[in-house]
């Protein structure tokens, strides 16, 4: 510590300008302010991600992964064989609450698509970690007579399904178009299908 200010600090400090002292604080503050402005711009610019798990997926716009399995009635299912028509895959489990809630909508949706004839989407339920008995009971109780992919080589994994239910739409060329997480409604699905059909002409 230098000798001069000691003891006389109050006097010395209050002096307008201590000798040999260039102003420093404004420059440092300015530098910090510039960095902060940059940070601020980045933060303002940052768009909030739409809630936790997004409907984004690396698969969107890309060819669907290999998806092969066996239907509940024993027939074979192979997604790559379904090219030429729209395919809707609904991943579900019998005991999940939103799956139960959305089921009536799915029944309506399938009926609506059936009315469209050739243009209608094919609908498949894909069972994720559930027993045959549970699934059969589920459909017996709640209706719906579309094909159910029961045994499969982890189709849910190939698609990166996070939490059931999830609904995916694959176009006639086998390209993944839409991923919907959690509960869907008949209206949403129909509108989405309509938009997709129009977009692809």
């Amino acid at each position: 510590m230098s000798a001069s200010p000691v003891g006389g600090a109050a006097v010395d400090d209050a002096a307008p300008d201590a000798p040999a002292r260039r102003p420093l604080a404004p420059w440092i503050a300015l530098a910090v302010a510039i960095v902060m402005t940059g940070l601020f711009v980045v933060l303002v610019d940052a768009t909030p991600d739409e809630g936790g798990a997004t409907t984004d997926s690396p698969l969107l716009g890309r060819p669907a992964p290999e998806a092969v399995g066996t239907l509940l009635d024993g027939r074979r299912f192979d997604l790559s064989q379904r090219k030429g028509s729209w395919v809707v895959l609904n991943f579900f489990r019998a005991d999940c609450a939103p799956c139960i809630q959305e089921h009536p909508d799915l029944v309506e949706f399938v009926a609506d698509q059936d009315q469209l004839g050739r243009d209608g989407a094919e609908f498949y339920s894909v069972v994720v970690n559930d027993t045959r008995a549970d699934v059969e009971e589920f459909f017996a109780e709640r209706g719906g007579d579309w094909p159910i992919v029961f045994e499969h080589d982890q189709i849910d994994v190939a698609f990166g399904v996070a939490l059931v239910p999830e609904t995916w739409i694959v176009d006639p060329n086998g390209i993944v178009r839409v991923r919907i997480i959690s509960r869907v409604t008949n209206e949403d699905l129909n509108v989405t299908m309509q938009q997709l059909r129009e977009a692809t002409g």
Partner: protein, 667 residues
């Protein structure tokens, strides 16, 4: 809407009262300072009481709404549930955005009231006046939040008679009750030193007086932040089932950031107390600490960064960001304006001195905070500048925090023996000798116990070294002063260091020497792994009384002794399944069991995952020691006058207010 409950009406009224108290309090004090109206200033605590009464009423109403299941409120619909246990119903208040803002407001207003009470006899001091203005302003901000984007008393959709309850992870452990309030006590507590820092800048009274006033507040906040963070780690360990305590998640980082700058502050403030130096730097650290709590809240509440813990998105983010900008503008402006006048005239003679070590500590902690902040917001930078999505995860932080931790351990070993001003090599050679041998001993023990690898071994050696230095100080002090050798800044601080060292050792060993295995078990078979035996007794499923959750447990006999039951808990209301670990805690190692999916009740087979994690218990013990140490450090230490009292008197910009000499008050 008329039926929109007495809870909502009274709650809103409470918030209004809080807002009114804060706004009028700030205005009245400001006016009083301008007019030099001592009478007006003397009334300032009343506004604080008013605001406090308001928020207490609001919180009481929210609790009442939760307890009576008043589903007319949107918030109760969101977090309430007909069958949440009472205790967790209380905690439901802070399980989502609006309620946590309410908790924040409660703590903040409590602090404002405490400041008003503590300084009630000095209300005519401009420094106190300005500090109160800042406190009131921040309080008003949070009150406004409750009227704007985070309205806890908004009316919900009509006809709802039940809700999902809080996130299931937030209702199965007692720590949920304690972790958030304690964390908030720390988080929000830093508002007080910040308020005094701003007050010091505004008044230009940068003597050491305001520091004395706020040192204990800062210490108190720091201690609660420390405990809060550790409790969070404990909760993660006991509930989340991935066997870790710290995931470097953005929300965790947001609580760590102010802790880092706060830790830097409570060290460098000693230089200012002792030598009257680093004043502007200390102010900056306080401002940074407070600003980081707001920035962290923005990051985790606005939804710009994804995190499993984050909740809420939308307009509340914009509010916090604006507030953050306002804090930065005001603080930087004040520092630019006052900074040079406040710079102290002294000089630090030698890097090899106590002050030099504190400065090194500050550099390291600041760099640490920078690293954590950078890693947390880097995905945003990449998105803004490079238009890609990235994640920066735990391995990045682990990799960078390891060398930083080692340097900090080294500083903890050397700094306590350094004298102020200048140390000679002879002195270091003398004082560091036994601590260094203790370090060598720790290294030897670690190697003997089977530890391998450079990083953990160096960590153990340095930990022993640092423990030696801390013990040396405590031993010498107690020999000299008896029990008084345990209290006061320096001695209590050494106890805190011992706690930190315990935590460092626990982290180093559990990060480096955890082993895990997936074990298929069958009834009647004894499986041996990692020096332990596992035997499946049964697989059971139990639905709780209220029918809201079902617990599928594998009952495993560990080492032929007690039975442990790792489980998968399914919350039937929302269909979510959560792994619930079962842990045998021991002094040297924990055995941590989780149940893998796939088993069914009544099966005679189940697959479990076993982790053997060394030294975990020492994390919690270390936290306890830190808390005790902080308490000791907050006690007034030895009464002898320091050889060097603060070097500067207040700068006399307000000659009329030569009131109480701030240096002397409260000592």
């Amino acid at each position: 809407m008329v039926a929109a409950s007495i809870n909502a009406a009274l709650g809103r009224a409470g918030l209004m009262l809080m807002l009114g108290g804060a706004v009028f309090g700030a205005l009245a004090v400001l006016y009083g300072i301008r007019r030099r109206d001592a009478k007006l200033l003397r009334q300032s605590p009343r506004y604080a009481w008013l605001a406090l009464a308001g928020i207490v009423l609001a919180v009481a109403m929210m609790q009442r709404a939760l307890i009576t299941r008043d589903f007319s409120l949107a918030y109760v619909q969101q977090v309430g549930s007909a069958d949440t246990p009472v205790l967790f119903n209380v905690a439901a208040m802070w399980s989502a955005l609006e309620g946590s803002i309410l908790l924040w407001a409660l703590v903040l207003t409590g602090f404002t009231g405490a400041v008003a009470w503590r300084f009630r006899r000095r209300t005519d001091d401009v420094l106190v006046g300005w500090a109160l203005i800042v406190m009131f302003a921040v309080t008003a901000f949070f009150a406004l939040l409750s009227f704007g984007p985070a309205d806890p008393f908004a009316a919900g959709a009509p006809g709802v008679t039940s809700g999902p309850g809080p996130n299931p992870l937030l209702q199965n452990h007692i720590l949920v009750l304690f972790h958030p309030p304690i964390l908030y006590l720390g988080y929000v507590g830093f508002t007080v030193p910040f308020a005094f820092a701003i007050a010091a800048l505004v008044t230009g009274r940068l003597g050491e007086g305001w520091l004395m006033e706020t040192r204990r507040w800062a210490l108190f906040s720091w201690a609660f932040l420390t405990i809060g963070i550790l409790l969070g780690g404990w909760w993660s360990y006991e509930v989340l089932g991935w066997s870790g305590v710290w995931a470097w998640d953005p929300v965790e980082n947001a609580s760590l950031l102010p802790w880092l700058t706060g830790t830097a502050y409570i060290h460098s403030v000693l230089v200012q107390e002792r030598r009257g130096m680093l004043r502007v730097w200390n102010l900056t650290l306080l401002v940074a600490t407070f600003a980081l709590t707001i920035l962290g809240t923005f990051l985790t509440r606005s939804g710009v960064i994804n995190s499993v813990h984050a909740f809420g998105d939308g307009p509340v983010g914009a509010w916090f960001l604006t507030f953050f900008a306002a804090i930065m503008i005001v603080s930087l402006g004040l520092i630019a304006w006052r900074g040079d006048r406040l710079r102290s005239p002294g000089a630090i003679d030698s890097p090899l001195s106590r002050e030099g070590a504190f400065l090194a500590n500050n550099v390291i902690f600041t760099v640490f905070a920078f690293v954590v902040l950078l890693g947390t917001i880097f995905p945003l930078l990449v998105e803004a500048l490079d238009d890609r999505r990235t994640v920066v995860g735990a391995p990045y932080f682990d990799r960078l925090s390891m060398p930083i931790g080692l340097v900090l351990l080294f500083l903890m070993a050397v700094a306590p023996v350094l004298p102020w001003r200048k140390a000679s090599t002879e002195l270091l050679r003398d004082r560091l000798f036994w601590p260094a041998w203790l370090g060598a001993g720790a290294l030897f023990v670690a190697v003997f116990a089977g530890a391998t690898g450079w990083a953990p071994l160096v960590a153990f050696g340095l930990a022993g070294f640092a423990a030696g230095a801390a013990l040396r100080q405590v031993v010498l002090a107690t020999r000299r002063q008896g029990w008084r050798g345990l209290v006061g800044r320096a001695n209590g601080g050494m106890i805190v260091h011992l706690g930190v060292i315990m935590i460092a050792v626990a982290l180093a060993s559990s990060n480096s020497f955890t082993h895990s295995a997936t074990l298929p078990l069958a009834e009647g078979d004894v499986v041996e792994w990692g020096g332990h035996t596992f035997e499946l007794a049964s697989v059971t499923e139990r639905v709780n009384d209220r029918g809201s959750e079902s617990v599928l447990a594998a009952n495993v006999i560990l080492d032929g002794g007690r039975t442990y039951s790792p489980a998968i808990t399914t919350y039937l209301n929302i269909g979510q399944a959560v792994g619930t670990p079962s842990v045998r805690t021991g002094l040297t190692k924990d055995v941590y069991l989780t149940l893998e999916a796939g088993a069914q009740a009544g099966d005679s087979e189940a697959t479990i995952r076993a982790f053997v994690k060394p030294m975990i218990l020492w994390l919690w013990l270390g936290g306890f020691v830190m808390a005790v140490g902080t308490l000791l450090a907050a006690f007034p230490g030895s009464r002898r006058r320091r050889a060097t009292d603060p070097v500067s008197a207040p700068i006399d910009t307000t000659p009329d207010h030569a009131s109480a000499d701030p240096v002397e008050v409260g000592r």
